[in-house]
Amino acid sequence: MVRFENVGLRYGLGPEVLRDLTFRIEPHSFQFLTGPSGAGKTSLLRLLFLSLKPTRGLITQFSHDVATLSKDAVATLRRRIGIVFQDFRLLDHMSTYENVALPLRVMGRREDTYRDEVIELLNWVGLGERMWALPPVLSGGEKQRAAIARAVIARPQLLLADEPTGNVDPSLAQRLLRLFIELNKSGTSVVIATHDIALMDQYDARRLVLHEGRLHIYD
């Protein structure tokens, strides 16, 4: 699904923040991406999300060499990836329902073809009662779940989450983890970037550990 070979990344003329990354993300796999702050977790997520290009090495996603993709091809490929941002990035002028439905809307689908799907997912993540609320009135946990619902509504093959439990209490963190495990069981590959060791200890999964720009893998 995703293959990195000797990938390096630097910003401008600065030092390499990621060095010689070689790994694969297999279909239906579940992995935590961890490491100390500033180790490059977000940069690696951005590489996985195609919003950065490596300064060296080869990245193949869904059998495409990302270096050769056009902008439109990147957008099309990105529809197969869901991402949960640490700061949620919900659109404040749209209801929770509309935020979650956004990926389907930009694909050009008509609203009546996805309404039931979106409502079902919102109920599944516990936002059934809040679907018409605007993001500014949602709690942190509700925003987090809305962001996750938006990331998975288009049934992506790969789900990336950047510190998804960073803003929530331990019980909600546990519930969100269960949500990711459920999604993984339904066939989505999951990469969760976190430095929450307690969270990782709750589920036995592969760990990708970034340290000083290098990746150590613990299967």
Partner: protein, 319 residues
């Protein structure tokens, strides 16, 4: 925290009550403060540009009317000389002019009329017999005709001794130079106003776009293609530009229509005649209204193109 229990995750789908559901909120937020500010800027600048356009059109048409009014007349003068019968010479010159092709009307000024012309300078009770005052014949040129004035001049000089013809060439040249200068200055001001309008609309659009950067980013991250995002913003900003342009251009059109109507109501009064002599009918005409509408469209297009350009630049910085 209002989180529900884990049972909620498997709750059956249902439509809650409360606020009305919104399924189709525009992707680009409407009615934002920056959007309203942009409409205000576009409206004000369109209004100013339209006023300038109208003023230039008024000056240009008035100048052309002055020129054509003066150019449609020539004057024959019969210079008095000892032993010369001015009445007979005037009648002969008038007859010759009447017979000349392209002449619509010939009117010989009588002695009394000539005295009236001189009254402002020499006072009334003037006895023209005591003064060597030339006789004047006003010759009106038929509209659309271009008579051979040098030929008429030669013919008069041959047939009527003491007759000279003045085609007001000196006046027309001076008037043309003055009108040309006024129109050129007006056009220069118009170009400056249009340039200022474009710049201020461009910067106001960029300012309004800055608040929409998070929207662009989110659309980009959920897989929207660049053309889709740029298209949505372009459509939204075209609408804002048209709204602002319609307010500004519409106000200018109403103002011109009112000015035309007011000048029509006061037609016949001394002041109105002076104004009409200077500015013509005070109407910018169909061409003027079309020019104002053209400006509205141009300014709306500038906002749309600027927004598209800003979206593309923002997308370039994201990747």
């Amino acid at each position: 925290m209002t989180d529900s229990t884990s049972n909620d995750m498997t709750a059956t789908p249902r439509m809650p009550g409360g606020p009305l559901p919104r399924f189709d909120t525009p992707l680009v937020p409407r009615n934002s403060i920056s959007g309203r500010a942009l409409i205000a800027v576009v409206a004000i600048m369109t209004f100013l540009a339209s006023l300038t356009t109208g003023a230039v059109i008024l000056v240009a048409s008035a100048a052309s009317e002055w020129q054509s009014d003066v150019a449609r007349e020539v004057t024959i003068q019969i210079i008095p000389a000892p032993g010369r019968d001015l009445d007979a010479a005037a009648a002969k010159a008038a007859a010759a002019a009447r017979a000349f092709p392209g002449i619509a009307d010939v009117r010989v000024y009588s002695k009394e009329e000539s005295a009236k012309l001189l009254e402002p300078w020499l006072g009334n009770g003037l006895k023209l017999d005591e003064l060597p005052v030339p006789r004047l014949i006003v010759v009106k040129i038929a509209s659309g005709a271009a008579p051979d004035i040098p030929q008429l001049r030669r013919m008069l000089a041959e047939q009527v001794p003491g007759a000279t013809l003045d085609d007001h060439r000196g006046w027309i040249d001076r008037m043309r130079a003055m009108a040309g200068t006024a129109v050129a200055a007006g056009v220069a001001i118009l170009l400056l106003v249009i340039a200022a309008t474009m710049l201020s609309v461009t910067f106001a659009t960029r300012g309004a776009m800055a608040t929409n950067k998070p929207v662009i980013e989110v659309l980009h991250f959920v897989g929207a293609k660049n053309g889709f995002i740029a298209g949505r913003f372009q459509r939204h900003f075209l609408r804002l530009g048209l709204q602002g342009g319609a307010i500004g251009g519409g106000s200018a059109i109403v103002l011109f229509a009112l000015a035309g109507a007011i000048s029509g109501w006061f037609a016949g009064s001394a002041g109105a005649e002076q104004t009409a002599a200077l500015f013509g009918s005070f109407s910018i005409g169909i061409a003027g209204y079309i020019a104002v509408l053209g400006q509205v469209l141009l300014i709306a297009l500038v906002t749309a193109v600027t927004s598209r350009h800003t979206v593309n630049r923002t997308l370039d910085t994201i990747d």
